[in-house]
Symmetry: C2
Subunit: 321 residues, 2 copies
Amino acid sequence: MNNLLSLLLIFAFALSLNAQVRLEYAIVIHGGAGNISPTFISPEREKEITDKLSEALETGIGILELGGSGMDVVEKVIRILEDSPLFNAGKGAVFNHAGKNEMDASIMDGKTLNAGGVTGVGDIKNPISAARMVMEKSPHVLMMGAGASEFANANGAEIVDSGYFHTEKRWNDLQKQLANDKLEKYGTVGCVVLDKDGNLAAGTSSGGMTNKRWGRIGDVPIIGAGNYANNNSCAVSCTGHGEFFIRYTVAHDISALMQYKGLSVEEAAYEVVHNKLKPAGGSGGVICVDKHGNISMEFNSYGMMRAWANSKGEMGVKVFD
Amino acid sequence: MNNLLSLLLIFAFALSLNAQVRLEYAIVIHGGAGNISPTFISPEREKEITDKLSEALETGIGILELGGSGMDVVEKVIRILEDSPLFNAGKGAVFNHAGKNEMDASIMDGKTLNAGGVTGVGDIKNPISAARMVMEKSPHVLMMGAGASEFANANGAEIVDSGYFHTEKRWNDLQKQLANDKLEKYGTVGCVVLDKDGNLAAGTSSGGMTNKRWGRIGDVPIIGAGNYANNNSCAVSCTGHGEFFIRYTVAHDISALMQYKGLSVEEAAYEVVHNKLKPAGGSGGVICVDKHGNISMEFNSYGMMRAWANSKGEMGVKVFD
């Protein structure tokens, strides 16, 4: 009987150990949340989106398998999405009220809490790389406008003519928006990663709001609002109506609910997206990964374009529910 | 004996009730933290600072006594500090690398979690009022540069010539800074309030960093970093090396430690300022007030210019330790 008890105790101990074992790696990507349903997105466009998210995911997995850093994965994955006209970031950035592109991006290293961001830049091909330069090559966290472009250019970022960001779809979106302010107008891309070294990283990039005015800044470049990573808790990237994500300090709030209240990453993301943002009217979603590799992809909008994978071989790509 | 026990229980119950009784109002103001010691500040300048902080405090108390809102107090108090050349905000704003002023401000209403901010503005006399306009007269939270000025001007903010911000002291500070990067270069003003209706409000305003480049944005306009208010926890305004206050999401972290971990406002402020910021090299301080009127004024720098008062008649003004 004593032997049986010992065996049971050992089994229970092994189970409790197992609960703490972390995955080797995990990655989640988003391409924006909002009115993403078959009503608004044709099967052809759905396939283009799925293909591009898969390409970005495979690239991330490749780097992670080789033991690459979460920061490298976040930057490379987001560059792929920025280079595609399908998402509201980089090449596919929306137009502001004046018919110009004003892009935002930020990146954060969960190991060191170092972070970088750019806001209101109009000529940097890959804002996520400029954000990483701000973090790694300056004493600052956030730079704006012409100053940010000057810094990025001096540090080797690719500067492009504003014509590079001109896509027919986004230009037409602006014309529709100018005629009817009720249309969908947000969009963002993001990536969160747990790497083989156990480090978390998060990145977010956006063209902001179609038809935005007055130098409006959303949540994307704001550490703690649209983007956050902390090895003690989780990495978070947000997408949606940015003003609400700033007021609710969404990314840091999810981290704080885990660290201070003991919630799981799923519980914390659910609480903020459904019980705080939604009642306030804040539409959108979040992607998160915790230090064990658990992920969450919560949204209170119609859909969220997303892709995920981990070292157990679980993976998926979804555009609608 | 039973009667005695009953009396004791009633007494204990009354005590526990008393612990929850809130003050009618409380207010804390800061004029910046840093190398604030008799070595750097003459007795004459100390008196000027004390007088101006007292004037701002008396103005705040006057509005609070009459039942005015925390938001009105925050705006009016900060306007007084912005109009003085003694502090790094408004009139006394420091110069950037290009010899220009780029000011930041933000304000938050703890009752609604509404917030507003401006960043990189060079011609608005009172950035704190522009921040409140962004909150109350636009669907946005944060606006930058020329767009923010255009919006503020259209809404009746006082626009001034850049010469208005030229003070001999700040210009000389820039020249010294250009010659020796090690000099003190931060400064901010802020105010946090609990009003008679039980609402919390926070505001922060700054000229940023002397000699700053590349459109650098600090923590002041960033909700959750340099400024935060939430009726469920506290109101916070920060001052110090802004980059660290962004990385540590200082203002929201203090709120989260109270709300999710049950820390008092003193414990939460101490934890963030001394156990998180200080080991990382993040110099500065915070002022906080909780929903009961308890206050905290923690700093890890030499000094912090500050003033405080509450409805019990407690008050004080301090420039050094």
